[in-house]
């Protein structure tokens, strides 16, 4: 914590945290109703799903990958699940199907990246497109699928603890679990090694490839949880979210929090910082009543700024840049 106050060792995380604090203070003073406890809960709630997805993305990015299929998996798995329920499939069986499907996509992503050496960006772009297209055209009939009356997903959405919605606790719990995993387990540490220098990690005997697969499976499972929470709070899932900018928001949260895209750096704290900034920003923009289209424009501008800063802080050199690293 002391490092954040020391300007010499100011890093991206510190800057973003400072901006978030400044923005928070500014919004609290300028915007009526911002500081209201209900609004603060709304802010946290609004970034919960985003933050959960960003946790999964963070693990993948730390391992020098990226998962562009996360949103497709999130929306389409739950849409399929609800569709199965609505057509009368027993709950347990339906969930087993969906879980199997999600694991299969995670495994496919991981397999293609780890064993076929295909760049993660293309694999997940392709599988994301495939998952959306396949589920939309073959398995479900409409863009939006409602949650059946009285189903546990619906009840989940109504759960409150101390007036705070359940997804906030899920986010907090997952964040804590990921923190423990990344910080204190052997496999968690291995992710940093593999992300920092995959070849060296492999040479010292770390099972780099199986662990790559694990990360994509983890990311897919996290996406499923995020999808269930989304469906719980909205009582339905709209598959059009796949074509929205949600995916870029996830990357934005991870990158802006200071998780370097070249891997090996960052952690859960960076996700929390990034999520805080984006949450405050989105909430403030909504209160000011900026139309959604302009919000996208602003988010894109911020993401661009984050990437430029990332590029300046972690410059790539002509002599050391890897061939084909796009």
């Amino acid at each position: 914590m002391a490092g954040w106050l020391n300007f010499r060792s100011l890093n991206q995380e510190g800057i973003v945290f400072a901006i978030a604090v400044v923005l928070f203070v500014a919004a609290a003073i300028a915007l009526p109703g911002f500081i209201d406890p209900n609004n603060l809960v709304a802010i946290v709630r609004s970034v919960s799903v985003l933050g959960i997805l960003a946790l999964g993305m963070a693990v993948v990015i730390i391992g020098r990958g990226i998962d562009l299929s996360a949103v497709a998996i999130m929306a389409m798995s739950v849409a399929w699940y609800l569709q199965l329920l609505n057509t009368g499939t027993p709950d347990g069986l339906a969930f087993a199907y969906v879980l199997a499907g999600v694991l299969a996509i995670g495994l496919l992503n991981g397999f293609l990246v780890a064993y076929a050496d295909v760049p993660a960006i293309f694999v997940t772009l392709a599988t994301g497109s495939f998952v959306f297209g396949y589920v939309r055209s073959q398995l479900i009939t409409q863009d939006a699928v409602p949650v059946p009356q009285g189903h546990w997903v619906e009840l989940l959405g109504g759960l409150r603890f101390l007036d705070v919605p359940i997804e906030v606790f899920v986010f907090a719990g997952l964040a804590f679990l990921f923190f423990l995993f990344l910080r204190y387990t052997k496999w968690g540490r291995y992710i940093y090694f593999a992300g920092d220098n995959p070849v060296a990690a492999r040479n010292i005997g770390i099972p780099v490839r199986p662990m790559l697969v694990l990360r994509y499976v983890l990311s897919a499972c996290v996406a499923l949880i995020a999808g269930l929470l989304t469906a719980a709070s909205l009582h339905s899932i709209n598959t059009r979210v796949v074509n929205s900018t949600l995916l870029y928001d996830i990357v934005l949260v991870a990158v802006i929090g200071g998780i370097g895209l070249s891997g090996g750096r960052g952690g859960v704290r960076n996700v929390l910082v990034g999520a805080a900034l984006i949450g405050i920003l989105l909430n403030a923009m909504t209160i000011i009543d900026i139309p959604l289209l302009y919000q996208n424009l602003i988010k894109a501008a911020i993401l661009l700024g984050a990437i430029i800063v990332d590029g300046i802080i972690n410059p790539r050199d002509e002599q050391t840049a890897q061939q084909g690293d796009i």
């Binding site: 293609l112 076929a116 050496d117 295909v118 760049p119 960006i121 293309f122 694999v123 772009l125 392709a126 599988t127 994301g128 497109s129 495939f130 998952v131 959306f132 297209g133 396949y134 589920v135 939309r136 055209s137 073959q138 863009d143 900018t245 870029y248 990357v251 990158v255 895209l261 289209l293 302009y294 996208n296 424009l297 988010k299 894109a300 501008a301 993401l303 661009l304 990437i307 430029i308 590029g311 300046i312 410059p315 790539r316 002509e318 002599q319 840049a321 061939q323 084909g324 690293d325 796009i326």
Partner: protein, 707 residues
């Protein structure tokens, strides 16, 4: 011949296995997979969609293709430069809107609309290029962000101005012409796309900026170190991509007379899929505009076909996803494994039954019986030389030889202690000969036929002959020029041992044993090279007969010597004069007594002879064993053999200890001595021949006494 062997000989000698490997060496095989995919796609959709190939239907599909393929062309150039441009869809949409805005709302001329459109694309491309090229940001994420940015901007603009565009009454004949008319059956957009593709192709393959793009994509670091302005080159690729997308956007503005929320949607993933399916390599350097276009046709046919077949929402994305995943995986695996596959399948052995031979065992009483005479030879240049394949002496008794370093070394008479590098040619100088005016002619392995003048000027005489019609690998190129000799009229007869392997892989040729050796002639009067004979198993030494009317040449892997007639009734034909020798013949040179010296580079062994009758076994061997465990011909014992004009063996000598001359590739008689060279040896031997003419020299034998 047993039935099994007959089957083997049919299987391995008639089925052209070697073509598989030769085809795989071709760069165009990269195109084969996308081309096949193209044919299959067109055939499939053509057969299941009624009227697919009808003119009007094609015109409608190709119109869309024109715009799309332009975007793909831009994407291809960016990818060739090692980047990626995901913002093409946004640029396309924004350019379309610019044109619509200028034309319909500002009611300006169509040309101004075009200018606005192009300006939009160029500016947007320049932003991408600056971020990726000069700031060195990651192309994928950066263009992803500019894509979102552009899309958001477009969505805002299009919702604000859609109604105004609907109400506009602006019309233009030019706009209608660009949008709707056809020209020789093809729409304007297709013509423009074709022109753009041709210009881009020529620029990429024939111009300096194009080469720079490919160099940067092929190896960014090397390009940087070679002095190419990498950043500017990358910048330009994005500007070009923006330019291409903006033309596409202008064309669709003309065609649809408006811009809607769907304009350019999903275009980036379609263009990316098209480029990758077409075979443009991720990470740069490999690919072409043609490949991009093939991919564009495949993707568009697929997506349009599915729509026309009535499949619902999402099918397109599903198919695109599958195509992208499969294409990328194939691309990566192909790149990685191509040379491995090539290494495995290139050696394609054939069946050969070698004839019974006479023994060369010392004391066996046959004319081939080797003795230990060569072990008594003096050594020259011991330890200084590496690989004197051929040796020759000039009129002043100086000794010349080639080395594996690509040099011709001269040892000075009379004691041959002092030496100098006479000339540096490169490659591996093999056979040597002096012509009438004292130029040293050399067959240089992996390069061609060279001449070194007495004042050391190196000149290339020939590096290629005419190409045969049925060849797949370029057999015009001389891969392994081996030995040469010069006829009285000055024409240089030389051998090219194999069309299948480079000079240093000559041992692989012995395992394959395919008859691809040639005898060629170079005519110094007009500089032409002609193929005289083809289809021998490793043609090697050449020697013009004493009377100058015929020449002898060795066929190493078949252990034969042939005579080729230069004049007389049998001119232009060859006959076999020695067959089924116990050793593999190499160079042949004149002897002072009217006979000929022949070197043996190695000896036949029963085991290798047997393996020649089992091509299946040799094929398995080359695929499954590491190369140093293969069964090769025995080259640890060689010798020197003298034969007469009729092909009768006069005598044979060798080095049975293996200490000095285990393998002999050449020998030259000079003033009563025999100078012996070996391609894997570290010395030249000098052996006193008992009873030889002490005044006979090779230059005098060829070109008469000293002038």
């Amino acid at each position: 011949m047993s039935f099994r062997e007959r089957l083997q000989s049919w299987r391995y000698n008639l089925v052209p296995d070697h073509l598989v490997g030769e085809i795989l060496t071709k760069r165009w095989t990269d195109n084969a997979i996308p081309f096949l995919a193209l044919v299959v796609t067109l055939a499939t959709f053509g057969s299941i969609i009624p009227g697919f190939f009808k003119l009007t239907s094609l015109q409608e599909s190709t119109r869309q293709l024109g715009e799309f393929s332009m975007v793909v062309t831009g994407m291809t150039v960016v990818m060739l430069g090692g980047g990626i441009d995901l913002s093409v869809g946004s640029i396309f949409a924004l350019s379309c809107f610019s044109a619509v805005y200028v034309f319909f709302i500002l009611e300006q001329s169509i040309w101004l609309a075009l200018a606005a459109s192009l300006a939009t694309g160029l500016v947007f491309g320049a932003i991408n290029g600056y971020l990726v090229g000069y700031l060195r940001l990651r192309a994928f994420l950066t263009t992803l962000v500019t894509f979102i940015f552009g899309r958001a901007l477009f969505d805002i603009l299009v919702t604000s101005y859609a109604a105004d565009v609907q109400l506009s009454t602006a019309t233009s004949k030019v706009l209608d012409f660009i949008g709707d008319s056809t020209f020789w059956g093809l729409s304007v957009s297709v013509w423009l796309a074709i022109i753009l593709a041709i210009v881009t192709h020529i620029a990429l393959t024939r111009s300096r900026p194009g080469w720079h793009v490919l160099a940067v994509g092929g190896s960014r670091r090397s390009a940087h170190n070679a002095g190419i302005r990498v950043r500017r080159t990358v910048f330009m690729t994005y500007v070009f991509s923006g330019f291409c997308a903006s033309i596409g956007g202008f064309l669709i503005a003309c065609r649809l007379s408006g811009a809607g929320p769907g304009t350019g949607l999903n275009l980036e993933i379609m263009a990316l899929t098209a480029a990758v399916v077409g075979g443009v390599s991720l990470g740069g350097g490999r690919g072409s505009v043609i490949k991009g276009l093939m991919g564009a046709i495949i993707v568009l046919t697929m997506t349009n076909g599915l729509i026309r077949l009535g499949y619902g929402t999402g099918t397109n994305q599903m198919v695109l996803g599958i195509m992208l995943a499969v294409a990328v995986t194939i691309d990566i695996r192909w790149l990685k494994n191509r040379h491995k596959v090539l290494n495995e399948v290139y050696v394609a052995p054939v069946y050969l039954k070698m004839g019974e031979t006479q023994s060369a065992v010392p004391g066996s009483g046959t004319p081939y019986a080797l003795d230990n005479r060569l072990s008594a030879a003096d050594h020259i240049g011991l330890g200084e030389l590496e690989g004197p394949e051929d040796v020759i002496l000039d009129r002043d008794d100086h000794l010349y030889c080639g080395t594996r370093h690509g040099e011709i070394v001269r040892f000075f008479a009379p004691d041959y202690v002092r030496s100098e590098v006479f000339a540096h040619i490169g490659g591996f100088p093999l056979g040597l000969a002096f012509d009438r005016s004292g130029n040293l002619i050399s067959c240089v392995g992996a390069m061609g036929l060279y001449s070194v003048s007495p004042d050391r000027e190196v000149k290339r005489l020939s590096a290629e002959t005419s190409r045969s019609w049925t060849s797949i690998v370029d057999d015009a190129r001389l891969r392994d020029p081996n030995d040469c000799d010069i006829a009285p009229d000055g024409r240089i007869y030389f051998t090219d041992s194999t069309k299948r392997y480079d000079a240093h892989d000559w041992a692989l040729d012995s395992i394959e044993n395919r008859a691809t050796g040639r005898l060629l002639v170079y005519d110094p009067r007009d500089g032409s090279t002609k193929t005289l004979l083809d289809g021998y198993r490793y043609t090697n030494g050449v020697c013009i007969a004493h009377d100058g009317k015929s020449l002898f040449f060795a066929e190493s892997w078949a252990c034969r010597v042939h005579r080729y007639w230069l004049e007389g009734p049998k001119a232009g034909t060859a006959e076999c004069v020695i067959r089924d020798m116990p050793g593999y013949p190499d160079n042949i040179n004149r002897a002072s007594d009217g006979n000929y010296w022949m070197a043996w580079l190695g000896m036949r062994t029963p085991s290798f002879d047997l393996s020649l009758r089992h091509p299946d076994m040799r094929k398995r061997m080359t695929r499954r064993l590491p190369q140093d465990e293969w069964l090769f011909p025995n080259i640890n014992t060689g010798g020197v053999v003298k034969f007469n004009e009729k092909g009768g063996i006069v005598e044979a000598m060798g080095d049975l200890t293996g200490g000095a001359h285990p393998m002999v590739t050449s020998m030259r008689e000079h003033k009563g001595f025999l100078f012996v060279g070996g391609i894997l040896n570290n010395r030249i031997g000098r052996y006193k021949i008992s009873g030889a003419d002490p005044n006979w020299t090779s230059p005098a034998s060829y070109w008469g006494a000293k002038p």
